[in-house]
């Protein structure tokens, strides 16, 4: 057993875990943050995407001990004070959510993209979402949603 301390969605956690535990398992199974999804566990589908110290990572590939001391944002931490993030709003508005299983990862990749590149081109959006598989939507409405969120955020700035 090892001890890991980290910040998740602005809250501090300290956990005793088996050293083999992945960050995905830590979030889902130890902390009950089940919004982060398990799709492949080999870093191919992006369903487990979280933001770790400002970068998107596949949490299934990150050993939990590596996240010691880091700052993590999961889908549960994207809305603030009950108010949806513009990306979440746009996903609803553009019907970018079908079964929803890819949605948490998609939203985090999109939020991270817009944090770093507030006015992305179509190509930028495609590239930012390239690691997030979606079987339902064909991605079109997700692209539209991200573009719309970018416009909305710009007009607010």
């Amino acid at each position: 057993m090892i001890t890991v301390s980290l910040t998740i969605n602005k809250k501090e956690y300290t956990c005793e875990i088996d050293p083999q535990t992945t960050l995905l398992e830590l979030l889902r199974e130890h902390l009950g943050l089940t919004g982060t999804k398990r799709g492949c566990e080999i870093g191919e589908c992006g369903a487990c995407t979280v933001i770790m110290d400002g970068l998107t990572v596949n949490s299934c590939l990150v050993p939990a001990f590596q996240a010691d001391g880091s700052d993590i944002t999961t889908i549960e931490g994207i809305a603030s004070n009950g108010k949806l993030h513009p990306v979440q709003e746009a996903f609803l508005e553009y019907d970018a959510v079908h079964c929803g299983f890819c949605t948490p990862g998609m939203v985090l990749s999109a939020v991270n993209l817009l944090d770093n590149n507030p006015q992305p081109s179509q190509e930028d959006i495609r590239r930012a979402l390239a690691g997030n598989l979606c079987r339902c939507t064909g991605y079109q409405q997700i692209f539209d949603a991200v573009q719309a969120a970018s416009k909305k955020m710009k007009s607010k700035r």
Binding site: E44, G100, N132, R135
Partner: protein, 776 residues
């Protein structure tokens, strides 16, 4: 019919909020204190007799609470349409995804460790991996009674005379590959003993009525001792029927044995190894054609790989036989479709359900015919296309609006098809390093189950005393938006905002069996049932209003949250919806009603393959524009136009979403997806080897919705889920032909197929009947 309030709008989905915040709960998101975790022991040979199973070592592992084999199943260990699927393998293994034993332990790793210690003695049997070989005389027999699962026929006119009359013959063989559903959520279930000495099952089963029966029968319990709760589903596409039931029933057996909650989840590898796939087909097409481009005769044979168990093969191949000639006139038809057992993964329902395979062949043939006659792919289709009143190959006269020409022309116009097609077939384009191509396809599709299945669905609408409404239906939302569509229909009938309606999770105790949510029947059947239920509630309300306000019930209208007296000349509001609701309850009239939707008559003659196969059909057309790298064979999708007559779009955004998703899945089928097995062993068991289209790969897509309301659908709505996927692949391969002058006859059109005209991989499945694997 022009003044709808909610129908046809882009209403946001009723269940999307929880999905963007992470609050939505999928099967694996449920946990209980003291739950155990399950693991499985797989078969080690694709075809073998099981001599003995030794679980003693596994039982000794600390933390293990139960190890079960088929001997421990108290009730029925078999299920399925033809009940030959084993929950736990008994006397034989028939594919490498068979499960011989299951373990429950305190955590996943311990359970897996114990499962690995189970020792099984086998006597290896000859295996067969090619369905045509399986139908040969001396093939190894996989199930008693032989390897032929089914043989469907269509006989119309006189094909010999038709070929006689023909000016020329086109004869081609096509092959389609098995593919994986690749729902992003792998199967999972949590089963716990409940306070009524029964069991509750939380899981992601697409057809939970079937799951309910299978689980109760396996546990040896009456149906009312097993409760099924449907969790939010992370996609299914036809895939979470028997595959998800197997996961849930194994968890249930372990929960019964241990008396504790048991979580069983599939890793992606488990999911792909165990689950059924889309059928691989071998298709032999022979057309007798006239110089004017019409078709005098079609002779068709198709053989489908059913894999280890029958599953939905009889139904899937039935759709193939009905639709094998496409939406084209042809007086003389002879079609034979077979499905055979092999030792591959079993195959079953997948979005498209027997149509993507035949559509690939038909639409490739149509382009060949255009080439021979010297007209464009659009012109040849318009020349042969069904029109109003046409008679199909099964002798059915089409009585609805046949919009095939309309969708074809719209697709061609939206994509500038004729001009581009002419430009790209030039030598100047084809000799480029990156030639472009454009391809057209179209199809028709019978709606819902058709003459092979019992087709009915039910729904319950309950207006609560405060005027809020709950709806339950037996049709499942797997991500396709069925809940939103049904809620919109109820809102429209009652004249209230969509936000007032709450959809209850399906629960086996609440609504009568509605049959499976397959065959794109969600809207037409589930929506139809919801509409009837809402109308029944409205009738009760009308009678109360008539008494309270002394008006004729026939003049009452429900709109904008109010009840109106529409007496022909003028309209005046009588009260709000809530006020009328309160008045009903005050008079002892609870507002609760159910609705059952039955379908129009269909019929079928097994011997001749003649009959009214489906009560109505839908029509669609696709255009793909591609660019091919002539050095590598890599195909890039540039643009895609997908036109569908959906009857009526209840929700435009949902319909467009179904179309985009269908195009991505169908184009992926055309150019990259393939579930590869070698000697029955699955080789593509995770997303590093099984490719689906990513955000980088999808083309620019344009969805065009055509609306010709159908008398059979709620507000005229028909379906779109499967039509969206079923004709994309031939649009892509026809585009590749336009770019290169080479026809792809084996799917997928991956690099080697496009560049070399063949697959590099040694085709083990056809090369050997016997399979030798070293004992493990």
């Amino acid at each position: 019919m022009s003044s709808f309030n909610i129908i046809g709008k882009r209403e946001p989905r009723v269940d999307a909020l929880g999905k963007v915040t992470g609050a939505a709960k999928y099967a694996d998101d449920y946990n209980l204190p003291h739950q155990l975790h399950g693991a499985v022991k797989y078969a080690e040979y694709p075809h073998a007799e099981i001599l003995s199973i030794d679980t003693s070592e596994a039982e000794k592992v600390p933390g293990v609470e139960a190890v079960l084999t088929y001997k421990d199943v108290p009730g029925a260990n078999h299920f399925g349409l033809i009940p030959n699927i084993r929950i736990l393998a008994d006397d034989h293994t028939r594919y490498l995804g068979d499960v011989v034993a299951v373990v429950a332990a305190v955590d996943r790793r311990t359970a897996q460790k114990a499962a690995d210690l189970i020792k099984v003695k086998y006597r290896e049997l000859l295996a067969v991996f090619d369905p045509e070989e399986a139908l040969e005389e001396n093939a190894p027999v996989i199930h008693e009674g032989g390897n032929e699962i089914v043989h469907h026929k269509v006989r119309k006119g006189d094909v010999a005379a038709g070929f006689e009359e023909a000016d020329f013959i086109i004869e081609k063989t096509f092959k389609t590959q098995p593919i994986e559903h690749a729902y992003l959520e792998p199967e999972a279930a949590l089963v716990y003993p409940d306070e009524h000495d029964g069991f509750t099952v939380i899981g992601c089963m697409q057809n939970f009525y079937t799951s309910h029966k299978v689980i109760a029968a396996a546990l040896g319990l009456p149906l009312n001792k097993v409760q099924i709760i449907q969790s939010t589903m992370g996609g299914s596409f036809g895939g979470k029927d028997e595959a998800a039931t197997l996961v849930a029933v194994r968890a249930a057996l372990l929960a019964q044995k241990t008396g504790r909650p048991v979580k069983m989840l599939s890793t992606r590898e488990d999911s792909i190894r165990q689950s059924y796939k889309r059928h691989a087909y071998k298709l032999y097409y022979k057309w007798g054609c006239k110089k004017d481009g019409t078709i005098a005769a079609m002779e068709i044979k198709a053989v489908a790989d059913g894999g280890a168990y029958a599953s939905m093969s009889p139904f899937v191949t039935w759709r193939s036989v009905v639709q094998a000639t496409g939406p084209y006139y042809c007086p003389n038809v002879k079609t034979d479709v077979y499905a055979a057992y092999t030792n591959n993964n079993f195959t079953g329902a997948m979005r498209g359900f027997g149509s993507p395979q035949v559509n690939f062949a038909i639409e490739s043939m149509m382009d060949e015919l255009a080439e021979r006659v010297g007209v464009s792919p659009l012109q040849i289709r318009l020349r042969n296309a069904f029109e109003d009143g046409a008679e199909t190959a099964t002798g059915q006269k089409l009585t609805h609006r046949v919009s095939l020409k309309e969708v074809l022309i719209k697709a061609a116009e939206a994509s500038d098809f004729e001009r581009k097609w002419r430009e790209y077939r030039s030598e100047a384009n084809r000799t480029k390093t990156f030639p472009k191509g454009i391809g057209l396809s179209c199809a028709y599709r019978g709606v819902s189950l058709g003459a092979e299945g019992v087709d009915a669905a039910s729904a319950v609408v309950y207006v609560q005393p405060d005027g809020s409404v709950t709806v339950s239906a037996g049709i499942i939302d797997m991500g396709q938006g069925a809940r939103t569509v049904m809620a919109q229909i109820v809102a429209e009938v009652l004249g209230i905002p969509l936000q007032r309606i709450h959809f209850l999770e399906p629960d086996s105790g609440r609504v009568a069996d509605s049959g499976p949510t397959v065959a794109s029947r969600g809207t037409i059947m589930g929506g139809g049932a919801a509409k009837i239920a809402a109308e029944n509630v409205r009738e009760i309300m009308k009678h109360t209003a008539a008494v309270v306000y002394s008006v004729s019930p026939a003049h009452l209208g429900f709109r904008d949250g109010k009840v109106w007296d529409d007496n022909g000349k003028s309209s005046r509001p009588l009260c709000t919806f809530e006020e009328l609701t309160a008045a009903c309850y005050a008079r002892g009239k609870p507002l609760f009603a159910s609705g059952v939707r039955h379908v129009a008559e269909t019929n079928w003659d097994e011997e001749t393959g003649q009959g009214n196969a489906y009560f109505t059909f839908v029509y669609g057309a696709n255009v793909a524009e591609v660019q091919v790298d002539s050095a590598t064979g890599q195909t890039e999708l540039l643009n895609f136009v997908s036109v569908h007559d959906v009857g009526r779009a209840i929700n435009k955004a949902t319909v467009e979403g179904q179309i985009y998703g269908g195009v991505a899945m169908g184009a992926g089928y055309g150019m990259m997806e393939e579930f590869i097995q070698e000697n029955g062993e699955a080789k593509t068991i995770n997303f590093d080897e099984y490719y689906i289209l990513t955000a980088m790969d999808v083309p620019k897509m344009k969805a065009v919705i055509v609306e010709n309301p159908d008398e059979h659908g709620p507000f005229g709505a028909k379906s779109v889920g499967e039509p969206a996927v079923e004709m994309a692949a031939p649009a892509v391969t026809n585009a590749i032909y336009n770019a290169t002058g080479r026809r792809v006859q084996n799917l997928p059109a991956n690099l080697e197929e496009v560049r070399l005209g063949q697959k590099l991989r040694r085709n083990v499945q056809r090369a050997s009947v016997a399979c030798k694997i070293e004992p493990k």
